[in-house]
Symmetry: C2
Subunit: 337 residues, 2 copies
């Protein structure tokens, strides 16, 4: 690997001169600059990020922390969409992204914070994790700039998908279609789930609708089998709901399978609504009625805010930003009126 030293000796100048020439400092003569630059190009010089970072204390590398248990990981549509746009945006600003490994099983592994420090990430984005995990909290409370997706800590900037008005819109839409017997299979305990569930309950109350306890079930995100089982339970009730809410689109498909197996039709016999608006759902019939999250903007805003926090810490404020999604009207909700 050719280094500044090699260029220096070839050009008959000092290392400092080469460094300054390549970084376009003002105290290097014009023709010296071109001479050095030509030599650098000719010799195939590529700077060494590690050496650079030691002097500058900046790595231009951002850590990405997200969960990848059985159900999610990179193949999680929502997360992949956010990460994709996040990546594009930070690359524009000259940053790379590196995953913070989350294999919790290995003995003697580094904690999230240790890993981040080891790589000297300039900043970190956190998404889809168990947000009250002590290791995550430790990372959040550190001095590393952090942006979180869909979870509010007081000390970090957060980009929130619109769970509240998303769920709100969905309930309004379903109620407007004439439904009163509405069931909700919600995700397992998380701040996102809580937001949606509270909103669900509040909206029903607003509409003066009361539902039996058995209409509220819990099943993990993206767990088609769990949704399948819970849906079967709902279908066995004496007074069956006319519409079922699911935690996400994947789960919805699991539920629809249960419905089909019981010989019922969507939406004629029973309606379903999802959440997320995964890409493929737009191309499959019947089209899901669901709430599409704006993953593009979530990722882009997360990137912009994180870069701001890194590069202009004094002038950027920690804030919570809500990104509105969009209700996608599909063919899985029947109008009862």
């Amino acid at each position: 690997m050719v280094s500044l030293k090699d260029i220096a000796s070839k050009c008959g100048v000092s290392i400092a001169t080469v460094s300054k020439a390549l970084n376009d400092h003002s105290d290097i003569g014009a023709e010296t600059k071109v001479r050095i630059r030509n030599a650098a190009k000719e010799m195939g010089y590529v700077p060494n990020a590690a050496a650079k970072s030691m002097k500058t204390n900046r790595t231009h590398n951002i850590g990405v922390l997200f969960m990848d248990d059985a159900n999610s990981g990179l193949t999680h549509d929502f997360f992949a969409g956010v990460l994709e746009s996040f990546k594009k945006e930070v690359e524009k600003e000259g940053y790379d992204i590196t995953f913070i490994s989350n294999d919790r099983s290995r003995p003697g592994r580094a904690s999230y914070l240790e890993h981040a420090r080891y790589r000297r990430f300039d900043g970190v984005i956190i998404a889809n994790v168990h947000f009250d995990d002590p290791e995550v909290v430790e990372l959040v409370k550190s001095n590393i700039p952090v942006v979180t997706i869909d979870h509010i800590y007081n000390e970090t900037t957060t980009i929130l998908s619109d769970n509240v008005s998303g769920m709100s819109d969905l309930v309004d839409f379903v109620v407007a279609a004439g439904h009163r017997k509405i069931a909700y299979i919600h995700g397992v305990e998380s701040s996102t789930t809580n937001l949606r569930l509270v909103t669900f309950n509040r909206k029903l109350e607003e509409h003066g609708i009361e539902i039996p306890e058995e209409y509220i079930k819990e099943s993990p995100y993206r767990d088609t089998h769990g949704a399948y089982e819970k849906t079967l339970e709902l279908l066995k009730l004496r007074t069956r709901p006319t519409c079922i809410f699911y935690p996400d689109d994947y789960a919805t498909y699991g539920g629809m399978r249960a419905i089909a197996e019981r010989g019922l039709k969507v939406p004629d016999d029973i309606s379903v609504v999802g959440f997320d608006g995964i890409k493929v759902a737009r191309h499959i019939r019947p089209r899901l009625t669901t709430y599409r999250q704006n993953t593009d903007e979530l990722g882009t805003l997360a990137a912009k805010n994180l870069v701001d926090l890194i590069e202009r810490p004094k002038t950027t404020l920690v804030q919570q930003i809500v990104v509105k999604g969009k209700l996608l009207e599909g063919d899985t909700l029947k109008k009862l009126n």
Copy 2:
């Protein structure tokens, strides 16, 4: 950030002693080791990857190069699956992964190779790219250990999904079901596409089946709209095919939409088969008849081979490995006999 120097002065020993104590060298006394280690833990010491890499010439960081044009990126099911298992496997071996940015538009950007050299990646995995892109070729021909997915260069280890026998099995299966009028909407020019197309043609020949030219169409991967259009063209033919092959499952859904809009039913009026076996397809009715690629094993094998190439270059050989997939029998193929 606390460094070796801080620990050294606190413990009253030299920096070298601290380094060797933490790396468990044999020439440090037992109680000195524990003293130093305790101090390190207590002071919250985390090594500096950059400094370490300067001495050792190893970054324990692997570069990931893949395409992300409009149709793919991280949200590409196949790639996300491969990357997910790749990531898990290399993390076990103590490696991180960093994306090689592929924003080709930025002026003055680094080439793939330059980027890889800048970060001093120990190795690189290449997938889903335009494999004859000069920049990709340059990277492949460099001295950096490389593993490619689904494309054979002579100088690199390659993990191949099973396009040949996958397509072969599919054709056999479809022909066995009694189909003779078989159309194929294949992906755009790539080595993968070529493999499948050649295999498709060869197998038809083996079965003594001749099809008109109009039965072969081209449409990009994962382009539901393109598949939709091409399917409409096929449906307008005087002698309509009884079965249509698609380049991937997404495209298949696009095709099915076209079929439904023409008032036809799958599989009663026309059969379709996909390729890839994306996760969600298993939960959607009708279930696709498709060929599921074993993304888990593709990623894991890529990781193992790359790590071997990095750590044991003398004893590991460059090779091509084929990972067999599995034909998933769904409900979109009608038996005609």
